[in-house]
């Protein structure tokens, strides 16, 4: 691996200086000059508009070097200073893998004034926390995050690097894998260590869950995977655990970022966040119109659930497409999925079939969804659902434990 300045192409524009997160490139006498501390993160190459910088990473590392990569790293995703629940799930999974390998578990935390989160990461299983704290990292932006993480990989050489299969993880992990030239397995639902080889066995559903595939990255490092939210168990925190925090100094210039977030619009409607919800209440064409969706929403509210929808519901404009479950919508894996007035076409099923428990409410006992439901309720949803809401509310009043 190395970095080269092609002097003929270099115009001395200083875009690389602005782009370097570590202040390791300078322009002297109109030519770029790389300093000793260069992490080969590649940010300057991305920033350069004149193809004057080449960062070289050979396609295959020699197998002799594979052993130098050690430890399980987890990307600690936080939003607005709060850890996402999938981060804790990843720590649980990562801890297990690290113990199997007899190696360390590290969390990599990026953000703005997020240092306070490190103890929580340790309590959930991290031995080390690498922290890059900088105002420019306050918002997730692909280029700055990818640059810092590339540097982390070059310097600390993890054997395994895990991300949540969230919008952020699915944007960042492939960018990073491509930059360091390693394999990446998307949306894993199970991770194991192969006994003979110590390799990471990454298992994921493919073809909409109709088949499962186990995937290995044998000759490249780190072995990277994104992990589906809600599948791995969150560990019980142990506040007595000891860990170490290791700062990663960065000097980012926001001007160096090309794809810039200029505005953030928060949607405080929890009911849209169907991918991480423990319960999803979904409605289909059986609802007949947009107003009737009220029935679904009131059940969702009572259960603290998110609201899902089948495609006709979205295509008719009753619900925004962010609620759609299925092949051209989202894949969810909640603890409980309640399908109301949904027939269960294969394109819908592939988005929800791996829920722990499926409850279907349908007039038609022969609807395909009823054949896969743990509880196939034959009835009119306009009668059953309101009754259920009433029942749940009255039990809650009586103090029966709610989920």
């Amino acid at each position: 691996m190395g970095i080269k300045i092609i002097l003929d192409n270099c115009t001395g524009c200083k875009k690389c200086m602005t782009g370097c997160p570590f202040g390791e490139i300078e322009v002297i006498e109109k030519k770029a000059l790389v300093k000793e501390g260069c992490t080969l993160c590649g940010a300057c190459q991305e920033a350069c508009e004149f193809e004057a910088i080449e960062v070289d990473r050979p396609a295959l590392q020699s197998t002799a070097d594979l052993g130098k990569y050690r430890g399980v790293f987890v990307f600690a995703e936080q939003h607005d200073g709060e850890l996402r629940s999938c981060t804790l799930e990843l720590l649980g999974a990562g801890r297990r893998l690290a113990d199997r390998l007899g190696q360390e578990l590290a969390a990599v935390l990026l953000g703005d004034e997020v240092e306070g989160l490190w103890q929580n990461l340790v309590a959930h299983g991290a031995d080390k926390v690498y922290l890059a704290d900088h105002p420019t990292l306050g918002l997730y932006q692909t280029e700055s995050y990818a640059a810092v993480l590339t540097a982390v990989i070059s310097k600390y050489m993890p054997s395994i690097f895990l991300f949540g299969a969230t919008t952020t993880g699915r944007d960042l992990a492939p960018r990073l894998a491509s930059r360091v030239n390693t394999g990446l397995t998307a949306d894993c639902t199970s991770l194991e260590i192969e006994a003979e080889t110590g390799l990471l066995l990454q298992t994921r559903p493919a073809w909409g869950g109709n088949i499962m595939a186990t995937i290995k990255t044998a000759n490249d490092r780190p072995q990277m995977a994104t992990v589906r939210p809600n599948v791995m168990k969150k560990p019980t925190p142990d506040t007595g655990r000891e860990g170490e925090i290791i700062p990663i100094p960065v000097s980012l210039d926001p001007k160096g970022i090309k794809a810039r977030v200029v505005e953030v619009i928060k949607n405080h409607d929890w009911s849209v966040q169907i991918e991480e919800a423990e319960i999803v209440v979904a409605g289909g064409r059986g609802l007949q119109n947009a107003e009737n969706f009220e029935v679904i929403e009131s059940l969702a509210k009572t259960l603290g659930a998110a609201v899902g929808a089948s495609r006709p519901v979205v295509d008719s404009g009753w619900k925004a497409h962010s609620h759609q479950v299925g092949q051209t919508g989202k894949t969810v894996q909640p603890k409980i999925y309640i399908a109301c007035g949904i027939s269960g076409a294969v394109q819908h099923r592939v988005g929800m079939e791996s829920a722990d428990m499926i409850i279907a409410i349908n007039k038609d006992p022969d609807a395909p969804i009823m054949q896969i439901a743990d509880y196939a309720v034959v009835g009119d949803l306009f009668q059953v659902v309101p009754e259920l809401v009433k029942e749940l509310k009255s039990r809650r009043k009586k103090g029966e434990s709610a989920i």
């Binding site: 960018r175 290995k216 505005e263 196939a376 749940l392």
Partner: protein
């Protein structure tokens, strides 16, 4: 302005139930499965073509795949692409997402002067959503993923990006790569005329020799990941069927919901 849309032909999942697996390897026998243009790529195509209608952009559809992937390209031409290119070669076989992007990047470099690359959010066969970001990295251009609104203004794009808890507005100078979600538009349905015109168009086929890429980046040898085992999970079977008065059903369901572990 030149827009490249990366598209993929995928098996039609509705036919999946009839799907057969090879008894020896457990691999799916893909041959003979009806195939469609990846639905997310239809949104990407529509987006490109609708900008072309407004701005006079040039739209080129590109796919890497077997010879029959030509059918998906014909659909793109019938939607309004000016040109379609098929990347097909035995050497590309067995590509994982990284190797796929080396091939696609090679083609995009060969096309040259590309301002905007559009991809679907994901392909419905593998659902990885990896090709877009990996391709952007390979081309050293910025990426914006999960885009539900795209505005082109001269050398800049402004996009609305969907995230779990809302939206982000992301602005970027071209060239860039954008992956689109379903909500971005409603794809047009090709007419009989546009389809027959598309069938008459020449679709060039580029192989490994036509692209300036090292051989060890392509196909199976260029793929860091390897599938070691494939199996069909046990399909779900029906649990209890509940019938009766709505109030009775509600009581039973409340039990299930309030004591999920005991049931």
């Amino acid at each position: 302005m030149r827009i490249v849309v990366c598209i993929k032909q995928v098996p039609d999942i509705a036919e999946m139930e009839k799907m057969e697996t090879d008894p020896e390897t457990g691999n799916i026998i893909r041959e003979g499965l009806p195939a469609i243009l990846n639905p997310f790529d239809e949104y990407a195509m529509e987006e490109a073509v609708s900008w072309k209608e407004r701005n006079g952009d040039e739209v080129i559809a590109v796919t890497m795949g077997p010879p029959q992937a030509e059918d998906a390209l014909i659909k793109c031409l019938s939607m309004g692409a000016d040109q379609a290119i098929l990347l097909s070669d035995r050497q590309f076989a067995g590509s994982d997402t990284i190797a796929t992007t080396w091939t696609l990047a090679g083609a995009i470099r060969k096309i040259g002067d590309v301002d905007l690359v559009l991809c679907g959010q994901q392909a419905i066969d593998g659902d990885t959503a990896q090709v877009g970001p990996m391709l952007a990295e390979n081309l050293h251009i910025p990426q914006i993923t999960y885009v539900s609104r795209l505005v082109l203004e001269g050398k800049y794009i402004t996009t609305t990006r969907e995230v779990e808890d809302g939206y982000e507005v992301v602005r970027c100078k071209l060239p860039a790569l954008v992956t689109v979600v379903k909500g971005i538009n409603i794809p047009r349905v090709p007419t009989y005329n546009s389809l027959s015109e598309a069938m008459d168009k020449e679709i060039p086929v580029w192989g490994a020799e036509d692209l300036d890429i090292e051989k060890d980046r392509l196909g199976l040898p260029g793929s860091p990941t390897a599938v070691t085992r494939v199996w069909t999970p046990e399909s779900r079977s029906q649990g209890q069927v509940l019938r009766g008065e709505p109030s009775e059903l509600a009581k039973q369901l409340a039990e299930v919901l309030l004591n999920p572990l005991q049931n």
